[in-house]
Every structure is written in structure tokens, then in C-alpha cells.
Subunit: 112 residues, 2 copies
DNA sequence: GATTTCAATATCGAATGTCTATATACACGC
DNA sequence: GCGTGTATATAGACATTCGATATTGAAATC
């Protein structure tokens, strides 16, 4: 994942969370997932193909998402991913974990 | 950095931010920095030596912190680190970046 | 029906950061 | 001087992300 106009990698590992959450709303194919993340974050997160596809394969391998070849509106061959039941449970775990992290960082930033 | 009872690395790269912020309050030596982070986050962040020292060297190399050998209360030889002026500026940047990330993730998690 | 075009998917190598585990340095008590 | 305990340091392994490039397949054009 890449963040607009920044290179110092303050963040890593949230990509899975973002993808799972995006698929929770509705099934999408790879490029559409990245596009939606870019739009929703107003360009803060720009997921590169080199990050996106390895992540999708990883999540599929963990059986948190399931991919199926289909065609999009333009009749192009795309691999549509949907969240599995296990993925939904994992998303809940990741959400809690993220909240925990944000809280902990806030404690460090604000305590003193 | 390691998070209590979790292995899935939802986060990476915030260690610098946490260290800089901790040193903003007052100079501390390595182990004391880790100890304070552990306490303030109530055990959520446990910084291992193998993460801590490479991070300190990295930050020192960037001239964001400056280390000086001294002795602690128990007369032990410790390397005390303080935040430099450049480090203070960098901390401000990192803080804004962190806020930006938290906002962006929240947008993904809550938009739908 | 061959070729071009284009978006979607896929892969590769490099760089980085963190982990576990182990090693070194030094002060103190004995 | 030898063990003990704490602080600092290092080594090797591993995972994730990036930039760049390759592959695939359908449609369009000729």
C-alpha cells in the first residue's frame, strides 16, 4: 500500500483490514477494490497492483475471501471476490485489533 | 514491536512515532523507553530489544534523537537519548501522518 | 482472421522492519 | 576473579510492500 505523497511507511498490515471491509459491503474484483479504497479515503490510500494481488491471494489462501472468475459490465474477464463467513469473523477480530492499536497510540501521544 | 497476544502484525512502522513521542516528554535510555511504552499502553505494545535498538540506531542516524552514555540511578552504564530539534519537527510530521491514517481507515470502516 | 488495443490479473526482485534468539558489556557482591 | 543481573547490541529469518514488468483474454479495427 502506498500513501499519497509519503514514503516513510508509517503503516503496514492494514491492507487486509481495508480489503476485507470493502468486500463486506459487496463483492468486487481486484481493481475495483483498490479503486474504492482510493475513493473512500480521498486518495490517502492508493493500493498498487504489486500490493493488491499478493494480498488478495493471501486472503484467499486463508479462506477469508473467495474468488470466482466472471465478467464485468464491459464483458471483461474479472475475478470477483466475496467475503466468506470465516472472513467476516476475521474482519471483526481485525476491527477490534485496530481499535486497540488506535487507543494505545493515542495513549502514548496524549499522556504526559 | 509486538502486541500482546497477537501475531498478525496489523501495525508496523509506528514504533518511531512512539519512541519520538516518549522522548519528547523527557530523555530516557533504551530499556526505559520500552518500559514506559508498555506501561502507558497498558501492555498493548511490548517493544522487544530486537525491535527497540535497531529503531533507536535508525532514529539516531537520522539525527532525530541524540544518545549519550551516562549512568542511571543504580550506577549502571546506560545510553540516554533525547529528542533533537529536527526530531521534534519530525514528530510533528509523524503525528499529522498518523492522524491522516486513522481518519482514512475510519472512512473505510464506517462508510457503507 | 490476424493484429492491435486495453484493462485486469499476475509475478519478480529489492528494500525495509520486526521477530526470536543469542551475544556482549559492565557494575556489583561475594 | 567469578557469577549475577541489567542494558545494549547483533544475527538470521521472515513477511509485507513497492516499482516495474509480464501475461491474459475480449473487443475493435482492418
Amino acid at each position: 500500500m502506498k500513501r499519497q505523497s509519503d514514503r516513510t511507511d508509517l503503516l503496514r498490515g492494514t491492507l487486509d483490514l481495508l480489503i476485507l471491509r470493502t468486500l463486506e459491503l459487496r463483492p468486487l474484483h481486484g481493481v475495483a477494490i483498490a479503486e474504492r479504497i482510493r475513493q473512500v479515503t480521498q486518495g490517502t490510500f492508493v493500493v498498487q497492483p504489486g500490493s493488491l494481488f499478493p494480498a488478495l491471494h493471501r486472503l484467499e489462501h486463508e479462506a477469508w475471501i473467495a474468488g470466482a472468475w466472471t465478467t464485468n459490465a464491459e464483458k471483461r474477464r474479472v475475478k470477483s471476490y466475496r467475503l466468506t463467513a470465516a472472513g467476516r469473523r476475521h474482519l471483526a477480530v481485525q476491527r477490534r485489533e485496530w481499535d486497540r492499536i488506535v487507543t494505545a497510540v493515542a495513549q502514548v501521544l496524549e499522556t504526559g
